[in-house]
Symmetry: C2
C-alpha cells in the first residue's frame, strides 16, 4: 500500500504527533454523554497539520517537549472548536465525510459543544503557565470571531478579493500565524524572529486555504469528504470563482448562483466553466506566491532538519490533491 | 425620587464600578460595525452584580485596584458572552427588555458575537498575568458548557430537583464561585480561605438564581424586562414549579405544559396555580437557606466594611423585587 505523502513527511515527528494524540485522547476520555457523542469525531479526524507545524517549528528552537505537545494540542482543539461554530454559521452539512454537529443535534448543542472545546483549548494554554501565549490565544479568538462577523454580516462595500483574503485570514491564516508566534514566545525569540515566525505561519495558512478552496472545485466527492462545489452551493465565493469572474465578469450561470438563485444543476455547470477557464491555474498561482513568501520567512529561521521538513510541508500544501 | 436599594448599597464602591464601566466602554469603543450593533447593549445593560461582588471581595484583601477592576470586567464580559449563547440555546426572545441577539440577527451572528465576547474576556484575564486565574477561567467555561449540554441534551433519568440545581450551578453559581476563587488567587490567600470564598460565591449564586426564577413567576412584565412565566413557556422547569409539583404532582395544566402541549392561556393558569399554592414560599425558603450558607462562608472571611456590605448584598439578593 503506498504511504500517503503527508505521512512520509511527518515520519520524523511521529512520536511527537503520538503525544499530541494522547492529550486529545485524554480530553475525549474525560467526556461524559452526550458530550462524547457530539465531540469525539471532532477531535479524532483531521490531518493534524497544525500540530505538525507547531512541532516542527518548536524543533527549530529548544522548546521543552511537554510544552510543545500541549501547545500543539491546544491549537488543534481551538481549530476544532472554531470549525464547529463556523460550520454552523456557514450552514455546512458535511465535514471530513461526516455530518456536521448542528445537522445531527439541535443548533444550541453545537453552540455549546464549540464552547466546550474552546474551554479545553484555554485550559491547555493555561497549563503552559505563560501569559504571553495566552494573550496571543485571546487575540486569535478575537480576530477569528470579528473577521467572521465582518465577512458574513458586514454591509460595507468592498472588492471581492479583499473580502476573500480577509475571510481566509480570519478563518485559517490567523490561527497558523498565532500558533507560530506562540512557539516564538515559548522559545523566547527576539522580535524580528517572532515576526518571521508569524509571517511564515500566515503565508502558510493563506496558501493552504487557497488550495483547499481550489480542491472544493476540482476534487471528486470521495477524496473531499463533502460534496464538490459545496462552497458555491453555500454562497461562499472563493478565489477560483473570483479568478473566473475576473476573466469573464458577465457570466449568466455564475451571476444566477451569486444572486442566490442557483440550483444544483447550475452549480455543476458553474464548476465545469471554472475548471475549463484557466481560473484554477490563476488561483494556484496565487497559492504558489504565498507559499514562496512563507518559504522566504522560513529562510530567516534556524537551518537544519526541521526547517527542511517545513519547506517540504509547504510544497505538500500547495501540491496536495486532498 | 427614591434611590434603588442596590444603588445605595453599592454607593461606597461607585468609583470602582465606574472604573469597570470604563473598561467595558473601551471594549465597545473598539468595536466596528456590525459587531457594535450586535453587542453594545449586551455590555451596557445589567445590574453589574458580578463586578460589585468581585470588588467587595477584593476589598476584603489587599488586591491592587487595577487588577480588581480588570477581573471584575472579565467576569462581567464572560457573563454577557454566555448569556448570548444561553439565550440562543433556550430560544429566549427578550433579555433586559430588549430582543435577544439571535432573534434580531441570524443565529450564526449570535454564535460569533458570543465568541467575540469570550475572546474579550480571555484577553482581560490575560492582562492579569496570572496563570492561576486563567486556569479557573478555563474550568468555569468548561463547567458552564458541559453543564448546559447535560441539562439540555442528556437522556439520563434524574430527579427534577437534581437537574434544576445542576443547571443553576452551571449557568449562574459556577461563575460566582469561580470569580470569588479568582479573587482569592489574586490575594494569595491560603487554601481554606479560597474554599470559603468559593463557597460564599457558589451559595450566593444559587440563592440569586432561585430568586430570579421566583421573580419569573411572581413579577409583572415591566419590572422583569421579559414576559412573566417565560421560563415555563420555554419549557424550563424552575424551583417554584418543582415545589408546586411536590405539593400536587398530578396537576392537569402543569402536566400539559410539561409535555410541551401548553398554550399561553395554560401558562397563565399555571402561574396563578403556582402563586396560590404556597410553592413560592417553599422556593424562597430554599433561597434563604442558601443565603444563610453564603453568610456562613462569609463569616470566616476578614471582618470590616466590605464584609458588612456583602452581608447586605446577600439580603438584597433574596429580598429584591426585580
Amino acid at each position: 500500500m503506498p504511504r500517503d505523502r503527508l505521512d512520509t513527511l511527518l515520519e520524523p515527528i511521529r512520536a511527537d504527533i503520538h503525544n499530541v494524540e494522547t492529550i486529545l485522547r485524554k480530553i475525549i476520555d474525560q467526556m461524559e454523554e452526550p458530550v462524547e457523542s457530539m465531540l469525539k469525531t471532532s477531535l479524532r479526524g483531521g490531518k493534524r497539520l497544525r500540530p505538525a507545524v507547531v512541532i516542527l517549528c518548536g524543533r527549530l528552537f529548544e522548546i521543552p517537549k511537554t510544552k510543545m505537545h500541549r501547545l500543539a494540542a491546544a491549537v488543534e482543539v481551538l481549530h476544532s472548536a472554531t470549525l464547529i461554530h463556523d460550520d454552523l454559521v456557514d450552514n455546512a452539512t458535511l465535514r471530513r465525510g461526516r455530518k456536521t454537529i448542528h445537522t445531527v443535534w439541535p443548533v444550541g448543542a453545537a453552540v455549546l459543544a464549540g464552547d466546550y472545546l474552546l474551554a479545553q483549548s484555554v485550559s491547555l494554554v493555561a497549563q503552559l503557565d505563560n501569559p504571553g501565549v495566552l494573550k496571543i490565544l485571546a487575540d486569535t479568538l478575537y480576530t477569528m470571531s470579528a473577521g467572521e462577523i465582518d465577512y458574513h454580516y458586514s454591509q460595507r462595500d468592498r472588492k471581492r478579493r479583499e473580502v476573500y483574503f480577509e475571510s481566509i485570514n480570519a478563518k485559517t491564516a490567523s490561527l497558523f500565524a498565532s500558533a507560530m508566534e506562540m512557539v516564538g514566545v515559548l522559545a523566547h525569540v527576539e522580535a524580528s524572529k517572532a515576526t518571521d515566525l508569524r509571517n511564515f505561519g500566515h503565508e502558510f495558512g493563506i496558501a493552504y486555504q487557497i488550495v483547499d478552496d481550489v480542491l472544493d472545485v476540482v476534487s471528486e466527492k470521495k477524496s473531499l469528504g463533502k460534496p464538490v462545489g459545496s462552497d458555491l452551493a453555500q454562497g461562499i465565493i472563493t478565489l477560483p470563482v473570483i479568478c473566473y469572474l475576473e476573466r469573464r465578469e458577465n457570466e449568466r450561470v455564475l451571476n444566477k448562483i451569486l444572486s442566490g438563485k442557483g440550483n444544483p444543476k447550475d452549480i455543476q455547470a458553474a464548476i465545469r466553466l471554472i475548471r475549463e477557464s484557466g481560473a484554477i491555474d490563476d488561483a494556484l498561482d496565487e497559492a504558489m506566491a504565498h507559499a514562496r513568501k512563507s518559504k522566504a520567512a522560513l529562510s530567516r529561521l534556524p537551518a537544519g532538519k526541521p526547517r527542511r521538513a517545513l519547506y517540504d510541508l509547504i510544497d505538500y500544501v500547495v501540491e496536495r490533491k486532498h
